[in-house]
Amino acid sequence: MKQIFLISSLLLLTSGCTCSKSSKTIGSSQETLAPKDSTSITIGISQEPDSLFQPFKEMMASSEVLGLGTYTLTQYDENWKLVPWAAKSIPTQKNGGLIVYEENGQTKMRATWQIRDDFFWPDGTPLTGDDFLLSHEIYIDPKQEVIDRSVDDKIEKMEVRGENRKTLIVTWKESYAYYHAYGQHGALPNHIIRSVFENSPQKLKKHAFGRRPMLAGGYSIEEWVPGNYVRALRNPKTVHPDRNPVLDEVIFKIIPQTNTLESNLVSGSIDAISPTGLNLDQALQFEKRYGDQFDFHYVSGLLWEHIDFNLDNPILKDLRVRQALAHGANREGIANALFKGRQPVAHGTEPPKSQYHNDNIKKYPYDPVKAGKLLDAAGWKRGNPSAIRMKEGEKLSLILMTTSGNKTREKIEQLLQAQWRQLGVDIQIQNQPAKVFFGDTMHRRKYTGLAMYSWIKDPLALSDTLWRCDYIPSKKNNWMGQNQPGWCNKEAHNILLQASQELDDAKRIALGKRFEEIWAEELPALPLYFRVSVSVTKKGLKNWKPTGMSQPMTWNAHKWAWAGN
């Protein structure tokens, strides 16, 4: 019996040793912190891309992978500045590329883009205006399952001119301030996709191109093993000296679990964790353990965490109550306690890096005395210092909702509940799973008091669907818009209408700053903080410059290099 036991336990315990000999070693202990191969990089992502077919993708992971072969007309750099990419320059009124004209009393505009001569598809075909035209045609085709057509809907027509088909003329139906961000829809290889689009448009979404697309930027997709990894290789036809990638290969490893992501980095199977991999909480924990071995990149982002006040609620309709809640919340303290000061408190709706950010707006520092006075003035009085405030026999009680299972939000909720309780405000927490919270409660505006969640902001545009009067979701407007608080301010509404058509940057920025002032004065929501995005890389990786916003961190992948490259 002894023998059998020994054999079985040996079988169990030693199976590892035999395999390690017969297979190749992926990372031995000495080389943990050096890249496996100095011409390649492996990045861990927690999400699997859905489709790599530009018009049909929905996930951030897809954008990150596609960013490797960026060939859009323009893109944002790490300072959120729009720079020309596949275009020679950005057409403006000053350089004559943008013409604004009147046609039958309607302001229209025409932008002329010149496409660079040094962008090629990996098979050697040059990138032309036809490739952008095709992409636009797919976006506006009603038979295609394209989700966001908001920009393409504003385009009256798109034409390609010139002997080399390198001139792209975009005519806009209206004056549209963000015309130059048109780069968000990349080009598609006209010489391959056109025939599919025309012959069997219903098959386009299912076409194999979505699994192994051809990209005209620095890298092109070589292989995608579902659930496992996506591998991109250098585009052999890149000729532009500044866009020629340093590394030969970029691999995205799909690892859905945070612990596994970290283990992979520590064991050397991956060289970096993408910003979609870890949240701030996890990153801070990880940094505590391995802070000296890796570079941690904290970049302030466009995700605006806040608490909406439902202004249909008679209690919250009173500005003094909203201001009191803001003064009664120690947001500074919460940010320091939970985020080690990495995520500073927000005072308005625009992040500090935004051009519309305004520092001279009304702020609501933690001041419980002032908060108490505001509530007293609003008629909410308390009998003794520990009681809940009352007004005409009614208790000052509000329901606070958020997505259940989100630890950070739940912690903030508890802290706020305690702080507001000291003010004499009773907060009932009612959390819901994300599907119910967003799919039903917020979508149909069913929350009655406070709702904590976040919005991702556009780096260029003011968020008109969030604050315009006609975007208060209701049955009447078929639940259109995201003005969940139900805030309607005439001046703010007009500013938002005006800004999207204002082509003069200085004037538009002034409008944006004014909007921030009005917003802070009226406080339809309690701003909490702008989330930072965190990515982790092995030491020695150069030019890793995540933007923190919708532009994926792969935007400058061609410049990534290991020390010594």
Binding site: F5, S23, D148, R211, Q257, T260, S263
Partner: protein, 658 residues
């Protein structure tokens, strides 16, 4: 036998009921994936949601969706709400009106069409292009023939590539050929009349009552349609030119509205003068519209309204005047439907049994057919054949056509291709394959360990070995799998660097050949297999032990011993066989786990198996994936039960006799 048929019938019935229930439950879950888009992307508008729901079939009540999913449906070939209105006259270059025939106003032969039916040359056969090129430029043809790559293309009869090469080498010839081919192309275009106009081949028969223009639909071989018209009386004015700007039929539950103002930008060629573009709101009040021989009304705002009571396509002809004597004619066509296209029947789930794998549906989360997700992807090679192991024209010739490296070069030879086939079986295996590759070894190892150890431990009850085994078994049972998995990874991957920290294979391993692929897969499978085996071994060992303990003191064991049988024969033949009966139940019931996978282990080890797929599918409301995997598991549970019953017959002679 009857019993088995009866059981199978019951299984089918239960599965059918289960599928209705599951479908209803999944649809009732809040957070429809399309609705969620509004809350995640501020730019998505309600009309986008309506459009996407229609495209994905989510606009129907759940039971209709269910029937469509089970049986299938005729696909409406054009959604009702937005049909681009094509205005026709610019399509006609030349038309001749013939004299009166009996009761007919005239017959018109369509001689050429300026094509907005784009790219008709795509439908030409290879030999047509080849002969046309040979005639036009023999030198170029010879040159192309000499080049091996081109030769290869020609062998594969890739017309589009050939045309592309010609266009690069000699644009003038390309142009000339294009014109010649287009002339040929008109023959392939099908014409059908609209309203009362009848078409026979390319000749239209126009009834006497028709005034002004007769309308027809032209369709190219790819099924793209456009509307054309011919002028039937007088010929001096020539065809009218109407350029559509952006015109669409506005969705209205009862009526179809066409905003005429928006698409009138006309310049008449005849004497009628000029009517300015009226898309501007302010200046067009003076425009007067009147219908000619067409149903419906046009109001003062220039909106056309009519409620059509049958599906189809109707041409609407109207006159527009500016009040100063200038007049123009124009037309548009209205598609009223939706028009189910009998040729485009989308097969439902049941058609899977007839061999149509696409009938399993399409996953909107993974943007792949459900069948591909489960069984692995078919790789489409450059030459249109389906890999893996198939050959490609050129590895890099058409990057982006879905042809991956798994398409091998022909030079590999027979052995190489066979090797490639085996390794691509592993590389491209789907979720089912991945799960089997993990669960089968895990279950097998656990059985091989649990049964003998359980037996021995029961035989030597209360010995030190029994205590140790029990202790280890309890550890195996009570260790939370995810925690144990993380610990194993921490120890063997993070600290000792002996095994990879999850994943299923190393990137790019395919290029290194069959043995590299196999050993790489094995290397990745060790940690998750060990974790799963330990959990299963602990459980089964306890079953085996307690079952043995029940049997060993029985009378027949004593009898067997008394007969003088050897101890081995007593234990193996008499005790073990009887102890197996309850163990068989447990084993057969773990068959579904073989396919169902282990969510936690798969998640921790980034192993793309069924368990993780199912979890993600439910979270993302990916209905088709979720329900298919649910049904497979349910079917397996029932099949496992049936198998258990059959296995009893084998191991238990009492049942066999009964």
């Amino acid at each position: 036998m009857l019993h088995i048929i009866n059981r199978i019938f019951q299984m089918c019935l239960i599965l059918a009921l289960l599928s209705v229930g599951l479908f209803g439950l999944l649809s009732a879950m809040p957070g429809n994936p399309v609705d969620m888009l509004v809350t995640s992307n501020p730019k998505v508008k309600p009309e986008d949601i309506v459009r996407l729901k229609k495209l994905r079939g989510l606009d129907k009540p759940w039971y209709v969706q269910y029937v469509r999913w089970v049986w299938g449906y005729n696909e409406p070939y054009r959604p009702v709400e937005v049909g681009d209105v094509s205005l026709a006259s610019s399509l006609i270059r030349e038309s001749r009106t013939h004299g009166n025939a009996d009761g007919e106003r005239g017959a018109s032969r369509i001689v050429s069409l300026k094509s907005s039916l784009r790219n008709p040359n795509m439908s030409f056969t290879f030999s047509e292009v080849q002969s046309s090129l040979e005639k036009a430029d023999p030198e170029l043809w010879a040159k192309l023939s000499r080049q091996s790559l081109q030769q290869k293309i020609l062998e594969k009869k890739r017309v589009d590539w050939l045309i592309e090469r010609i266009s690069q080498q000699n644009p003038a010839i390309y142009e000339a050929m294009g014109n010649a081919l287009k002339k040929e192309g008109i023959k392939q275009i099908k014409i059908r009349g609209l309203n009362d106009v009848k078409a026979e081949g390319h000749v239209l028969s126009i009834p006497a009552s028709t005034a002004g223009y007769a309308y027809f639909v032209a369709e190219n071989p790819q099924g793209m349609e456009t509307v054309g018209h011919v002028k039937v009386e007088g010929s001096s004015a020539g065809p009218l030119h109407v350029e559509p700007i952006s015109s669409r039929i506005v969705d209205d539950p009862d009526k179809f509205k066409v905003e005429l103002k928006k698409f009138i930008s006309l310049s008449t060629q005849g004497e009628g003068g000029r009517i300015e573009d009226s898309s501007d709101e302010g200046d067009d009040r003076w425009l007067k519209f009147s219908l000619i021989n067409s149903p419906g009304t046009i109001d003062g705002e220039g909106i056309y309204r009519h409620k059509f009571d049958h599906p189809g396509q109707t041409a609407i002809q109207f006159r527009v005047g500016d009040g100063e004597g200038n007049e123009a004619f124009a037309a548009f066509s209205v598609e009223h439907g939706p028009i189910p296209d009998p040729t485009r029947f989308n097969n439902g789930f049941l058609h899977v049994f007839a061999g149509d794998t696409a009938a399993l549906g399409f996953s909107n989360t993974y943007k792949r057919p459900v069948w591909d997700l489960l069984s692995g992807e078919k790789i489409i090679c450059g030459d249109g054949r389906e890999g893996p192991g198939e050959t490609c024209d050129d590895k890099n010739a058409l990057n982006g056509d879905g042809c991956s490296n798994t398409c091998q070069d022909e030079t590999l030879g027979w052995g190489g291709i066979a090797g490639a086939k085996i390794s691509s079986f592993f590389v491209g295996s789907g979720r089912v394959g991945n799960t089997l590759a993990l669960m089968f070894p895990a279950i097998l190892i656990s059985l091989l360990l649990a049964i003998p150890i359980g037996m021995i431990s029961a035989y030597r009850q209360y010995s030190w070995m029994d205590y140790v085994v029990n202790f280890l078994a309890f550890i195996g049972i009570s260790l939370p799998v995810f925690w144990f998995a993380i610990m194993m990874m921490f120890l063997f991957a993070e600290q000792l660097h002996l095994f990879p920290a999850g994943g299923i294979q190393s990137p790019g391993i395919y290029d290194e050949g069959l043995w590299a692929v196999l050993s790489d897969r094995w290397y990745h499978a060790v940690l998750p297999t060990v974790v799963l085996s330990i959990a299963y071994t602990g459980r089964w060992l306890r079953y085996m032990r307690s079952s043995m303990l029940e049997v060993l003191p029985s009378d027949y064991i004593r009898t067997a011993r008394a007969k003088g049988l050897s101890e081995a024969a007593v234990v193996v033949k008499h005790a073990f066989r009887n102890a197996l009966i309850p163990v068989v139940t447990v084993l057969t019931l773990s068959i579904p786990a073989l396919f169902g996978g282990a969510v936690l282990t798969e998640t921790v080890f980034s192993w793309p198996g069924i368990g993780r797929l199912q979890y993600d599918a439910v979270l993302n409301s990916d209905y088709y994936v979720a329900i298919v995997v649910f049904l497979i598991s349910a079917a397996l549970v029932m099949a496992g039960n049936l198998l258990a019953d059959l296995a009893y017959v084998l191991v238990d002679p009492r049942i066999r006799k009964a």
